[in-house]
């Protein structure tokens, strides 16, 4: 059977449709078993992946004395929320929540506004040096902000702005990748609506603000999500820029809890839970959007 018609091939593909497919049925059965075994392994690993989080929750509901039992046990002798109370009385956690929320929202707003405007200009407008500006902004993707902590700190030190919201928020605003995402997005939507508006006498601001921006909602959502998550979780810069406990964000503040004194296992786990809670809550509410937003940008 050198040449087989599609009909013949599909008939062959069905197991047990002909006597000659008996070996194939055996092969299918083996492949099936293998497939199930692999699926089982991945399910088991997914459960293993959840163990650290489960253990954290488990410890946070124990009394400190119950955390120093050898060997470690999952059993909770007496369920207590005392570790959570201890976190609030021992740290400025409430203040850190407010700082984190304020900084993350401010950075997200400024990033979306400035990057969408720049992306719009690079996509729609014509001017001398446009290719240069685009290349220069794209090259910025390769600058690792972590390698710039020294000059950045120096800059804010000279301006006497260390330990202020300005220092925490502003350096996190320029994200060249966001400009790239907006430019690509505007490239993909038809220009005719803006042209119609321009015929009606609309200026550049109206064309951007009233016509283009409302169409860019998917891009705004993606950029907002990754900017917010990234800013909320950023550790190194806020850790340097906030020199007092009251100016710290959640990651920087929790970072100071890492080195505790005495038996503070339950307290540390309770602060881990409380530090993770806001984003976990956001994640559970908008799981699909967050996953797609992060995947769509490819940013890390």
């Amino acid at each position: 059977m050198a040449i087989s018609t599609p009909w013949q091939r599909s008939a062959q593909a069905k197991p047990g449709s002909a006597a000659q497919s008996a070996p194939r049925a055996a092969k299918d059965w083996r492949a099936n078993l293998f497939g199930r075994a692999v699926t089982g392994v991945v399910i088991a690993l997914a459960l293993v992946w959840l163990i650290p989080i489960a253990w954290t929750l488990d410890t946070s509901f124990k009394s400190e004395n119950a955390t120093i039992i050898i060997p470690a046990t999952w059993a909770i002798p007496k369920l207590t929320f005392s570790a959570y109370g201890a976190v609030f009385s021992a740290t400025d956690l409430g203040r850190w929540y407010i700082n984190s929320a304020f900084v993350a929202i401010l950075v997200t707003l400024l990033t979306v506004v400035t990057a969408s405007m720049a992306g719009y200009a690079l996509s729609r407008r014509r001017f001398r040096g446009k290719a240069f500006f685009y290349a220069a902004i794209l090259a910025g993707i390769m600058i690792p902000p972590q390698a710039l902590i020294v000059p950045l700190f120096r800059e804010f030190q000279t301006a006497h702005l260390i330990n202020t919201y300005w220092a925490l928020a502003l350096p996190q605003v320029p994200a060249p990748i966001a400009v790239f995402i907006f430019k690509k997005f505007f490239d993909g939507i038809p220009i005719s609506l803006e042209q119609a508006a321009e015929v009606d006498g609309a200026g550049w601001w109206t064309a951007y603000r009233r016509i283009a921006l409302p169409l860019a909602r998917p891009a705004i959502a993606a950029v907002s999500i990754f900017t917010f998550v990234w800013t909320w979780n950023n550790f190194l810069w806020p850790f340097l820029a906030a020199t007092s406990q009251t100016m710290m964000t959640i990651p920087a503040g929790i970072g100071t809890v890492v080195s505790g004194v005495g038996i503070v296992n339950a307290l540390q786990m309770a602060s881990a839970v409380l530090g993770a809670l806001p984003l976990v809550f956001v994640f559970l509410l908008a799981q699909r959007q967050i996953v797609e937003g992060v995947a769509g940008t490819g940013l890390k």
Partner: protein
């Protein structure tokens, strides 16, 4: 027919007017300006400042650049064994963490994409750790690795093995951090792979099934080749992310024991903010920056080659 004849010059005039508007001076500055201000002040500016400082004996506690040092910072850096030790730890971490972080999520994504049920469960399990802040990760894993009361030590003693000194042994500490990092960040690569898998047309699978290809063959001959570009993307993003490692090491081992896990960024941090030698730290930053830049260029070259090949 006269109607169209008249309308042609009219649209041309309109087009010219529109064209003038799109070139209009204030619009360009107004739209690009705000981003460029942030870009220059907090990205390009600091980079230039960093380059300048690397030629001076700048101190953290004194104003100004300090005395001119010429190439002295670089000369010292290239013969500084502590710097090379930290660079080596960064490179070793990258070499050890990249293969599992490229291969394991690929395996997970291919299997999960097949399962199709309860995808939310796998997204939850594998992606949830990724959105946790590094400080939370540090708390969780310091407690898991705790030698006496920790869960992992408990598990080892249950099996009758002595647990290694996860964080206290100089030969083990960096590898313990690799385990933490794999657990923490695998979800990001997993999600990139899932997105890549969704882009493979379903009829390709149907066609290959009709040709008698089993699942195993499909995975090797169809899925993995079709994911080529995603695998390159994941690999390079992973290498760049690994080269920037700082948070989890600093928070879990503080670079210890005895500097056995100190990485390049922590060297920059220690030199600039603890020893207060900002100029010297600037030179070290620049060397790390050049390494990351070289990897990025290698990636661009690879992508160009792939695109030409396909």
């Amino acid at each position: 027919m006269t109607a169209t004849a008249i309308s042609v010059p009219k649209t041309a005039a309109r087009e010219a007017k529109r064209e003038r508007r799109r070139r209009g001076g204030w619009g360009n500055a107004g739209l690009l300006g705000p981003f460029l201000v942030f870009y220059l002040l907090f990205l390009v500016g600091p980079l230039i400042y960093d380059i300048v400082m690397s030629f001076f004996n700048t101190s953290l506690v004194l104003p100004g650049l300090g005395s001119f040092a010429g190439l002295a910072n670089y000369r010292e850096l290239f013969s500084d064994s502590r710097f090379w030790q930290a660079m080596w730890h960064t490179i070793l971490f990258t070499l050890v963490s990249t293969p599992p972080l490229v291969i394991i999520p690929l395996f997970f994504a291919i299997v999960v994409n097949r399962i199709r049920h309860a995808q939310w469960f796998f997204r939850l399990a594998f992606f949830l750790p990724y959105i946790l802040p590094s400080a939370v990760i540090a708390l969780i894993w310091t407690w898991l690795y705790e030698p006496g009361y920790g869960l992992i030590s408990g598990f080892f003693s249950l099996l009758g093995f002595g647990a290694p000194g996860w964080l206290s042994s100089p030969n083990v500490a960096l590898y313990s951090i690799v385990i933490v990092t794999v657990w923490w960040t695998i979800g990001f690569n997993f999600v990139l792979y899932l997105a890549g898998l969704q882009d493979i047309p379903r009829d390709l699978y149907e066609a290959s099934a009709l040709d008698g290809a089993g699942r195993w063959k499909q995975t090797w001959r169809l899925t993995i080749p079709m994911l080529g570009r995603t695998i390159t993307l994941v690999t390079v993003l992973q290498i760049i992310a690994s080269l920037k490692i700082f948070d989890q090491v600093y928070l879990i081992t503080a670079g210890g024991p005895n500097y056995a896990s100190r990485t390049a960024i922590e060297f920059i941090y220690d030199t600039g903010f603890t020893s207060e030698r900002v100029g010297y730290a600037a030179a070290a930053s620049l060397v790390l920056f050049v390494v990351i830049l070289l990897v990025s260029f290698a990636w661009l070259a690879l992508v160009r080659k792939q695109e030409r090949g396909v």
